[in-house]
């Protein structure tokens, strides 16, 4: 599988990662090499195989339970005011 700069940019946008052009080119080359190795999976006959484990993760009851105290959460927050996380203006910002 060949990844070019444009494809690497498309993936980077989906992944919320910032790269310059040189970084995108390097990433595209590395991804191409790794995906070429991974492409050997095409040799395997996977007809009649399930793509998930038969034993599903059990669900717990959807009941409220105590969570981390707000003041404790605030200690790790990059920006915090009045019990809320602060972010730049989402609508009508720069």
């Amino acid at each position: 599988m060949k990844i070019d700069r444009d494809e690497a940019r498309r993936i980077a946008d989906l992944a919320h990662l910032e790269f310059d052009d040189a970084g995108l080119d390097r990433m595209a080359a590395e991804m191409t090499k790794i995906l070429t190795y991974i492409d050997q999976l095409r040799e395997v006959n996977v007809e009649e195989l399930e793509d998930r484990d038969a034993t599903a993760t059990p669900m717990r009851a959807d009941e409220p339970r105590p969570s981390i105290d707000r003041e404790l959460a605030a200690r790790n927050a990059p920006a915090w005011r009045d019990g809320l996380f602060v972010v730049p203006k989402v609508i009508g910002g720069e």
Binding site: I3, A8, R10, I11, A12, L14, A15, H16, L17, E18, F19, M27, E30, M31, K33, I34, L35, Y37, I38, Q40, L41, R42, V44, V46, L49, E50, D51, R52, D53, T57, P58, M59, R60, I68, D69, L72, A73, R75, N76, A77, P78, A79, F85, V87, P88, K89, V90, G93, E94
Partner: protein, 467 residues
């Protein structure tokens, strides 16, 4: 008291007070860690939190949270993070009167096989400081091998406990998926992740594992099956037990790793084990499956690091999008970005079926082949790693060659079975080599039995690196 730290934990704990034991560890860290760099954080008396009660001084990998301690995951993005809660494994250790003496170095977010991807500099192999200690739980393995702590917790996704344990000459256990709670283990690949144990001896490993194993309502993937009595079969030998040598994994091996492996098999045979060839035809695809499945899950799990709720936020971000892109761009290292990119690609529209879907199907085939094999065998055998510890820098420019370090360990994670790495001797250059024993789901008790027999017959754990 360095002699104390040469003893297995299960022997030493009865010879000194808890305080003396912890102090001996802290002194050993003070003496050796400047060279080894196994620790990212050490509990100090000055911080007022020096443990006094500990019967078990233990180090934990810095992607497992403990209240009031940093959890960096070896990443700039979490360099200032201090956990407000304990992982369940830590809660259980505390209940058993363990003392956490420090947090160990790791590849960033546990992504790597050499600890060179730590944002805070690599840990080094105590047997040869110019070589890697393996990874990603390299700090945990190096700390135990250097006799700085008797035991450490690591985490496994594709071999991250067993591979560094092998390269450092110590015992490493990867438990059955679901046997140890993942609550408080920072998520990398949730269908593969499992907390594991590093110790000098198999008995120590079994006893530490006994403490942390069991169901946890906070982790819905943790098994409700009761934990076993993991020391019950120690000393029982291997007479009549059936071992399979995985033909597709061992067949092409040459050199001293092969010679060492064959010698290890002979030890089991002499003990009365029945050893025959086993076949897992799909095992050669494990790394290809792994790097799709693990990275796909990682790309989703690491989306939580967005500069909003915790972790690094870029100073230059002016819009919400810039908070996301710049914080992640500045906070994540090259390997983490590479894996997020690969995982995002594998899950993206147009490629999902061809990559993620196909990898999951081949994984199902692998699972089926292992299950079939365990109808004929009690255990499966391979070397733990294809080579002993390599030099720092030898693989950092070639990610794929680094990935292949996990060729023998990744299958157990993909299939969910337990596996143990036990020291099997030394290379001509004096570097540790290791035998991997795999068992069926929830077969830890039997794994300890076989590994304990091998250890008693060989005694390689007694040799220590000269620092």
């Amino acid at each position: 008291m360095s002699d104390l730290l040469d003893l297995p934990w299960t022997v030493a704990r009865d010879q000194v007070s808890p305080r003396e034991y912890v102090d001996a560890c802290l002194r050993a860290i003070e003496e050796h860690d400047e060279k080894v760099h196994a620790f990212l954080h050490v509990v100090s008396g000055a911080a007022g939190s020096q443990p006094a009660e500990g019967r078990l001084p233990v180090a934990i990998k810095d992607n497992i949270v403990a209240t009031g301690m940093p959890t960096t995951c070896g990443s700039q993005i979490l360099r200032d993070f201090v956990s407000p809660y304990d992982a369940t494994a830590v809660t259980r250790l505390r209940a058993a009167r363990a003392s956490i003496v420090g947090k160990t170095n790791l590849d960033e977010f546990a992504m790597g096989s050499s600890t060179e991807h730590s944002a805070f500099g690599p840990a080094r192999n105590p047997w040869d400081l110019s070589r890697v200690c393996g990874g990603s739980s390299g700090g945990s393995a190096a700390a135990v091998a250097s006799r700085m702590v008797p035991a450490a917790l690591g985490s496994e996704t594709g071999g991250s406990v067993r591979q560094p344990a092998a390269l450092c000459g110590v015992v490493g256990l990867k438990p059955t998926y679901g046997r140890v709670s993942r609550w408080g283990l920072v998520a990398f690949a949730s269908s593969l992740d499992q907390i594991g144990v590093v110790t000098k001896t198999v008995r120590d490993c079994a006893e530490v594992f006994q403490i942390i194993a069991g169901h946890d309502p906070l982790d819905s993937t943790s098994s409700t099956q009761p934990a076993g009595d993991y020391t019950a079969d120690l000393g029982a030998g291997v007479k009549g037990l059936r071992f399979g040598i995985v033909r597709e994994a061992v067949g092409q091996l040459g050199g001293e790793v092969r010679v060492n492996f064959d010698a290890a098999v002979d030890v089991l045979r002499r003990g009365g084990a029945v050893v025959e060839e086993a076949s897992i035809p799909t095992i050669g695809y494990a790394i290809a499956i792994y790097y799709i499945v693990a990275n796909a899950e990682a790309s989703a799990n690491l989306s939580r690091f967005d500069g909003v709720r915790y972790g690094h936020r870029s100073e230059r971000a002016r819009t919400l999008d810039e908070v996301y892109f710049d914080s992640r761009g500045e906070g994540f290292g090259a390997e983490v970005k590479r894996r997020i990119m690969l995982g995002t690609f594998a899950l993206s529209s147009g490629y999902y079926d061809a990559y993620y879907g196909r990898a999951q199907r081949v994984r199902a085939k692998l699972r089926h082949e292992f299950a079939e094999s365990f109808r004929s065998f009690d255990y499966l055998l391979t070397p733990t790693t294809p080579e002993p510890a390599f030099h720092l820098g030898a693989k950092t420019e070639d990610p794929l060659s680094m990935y292949l370090s996990d060729v023998f360990t990744a299958p157990a994670n993909l299939v969910g079975i337990p596996a143990i790495a036990v020291p099997s001797g030394f290379s001509a250059e004096g570097l540790p080599l290791s035998l991997q024993i795999m068992g069926p789901h929830f077969g830890e008790r039997a794994l300890f039995r076989a590994a304990d027999f091998f250890e008693n017959e060989t005694g390689y754990w007694k040799r220590r690196p000269q620092l």
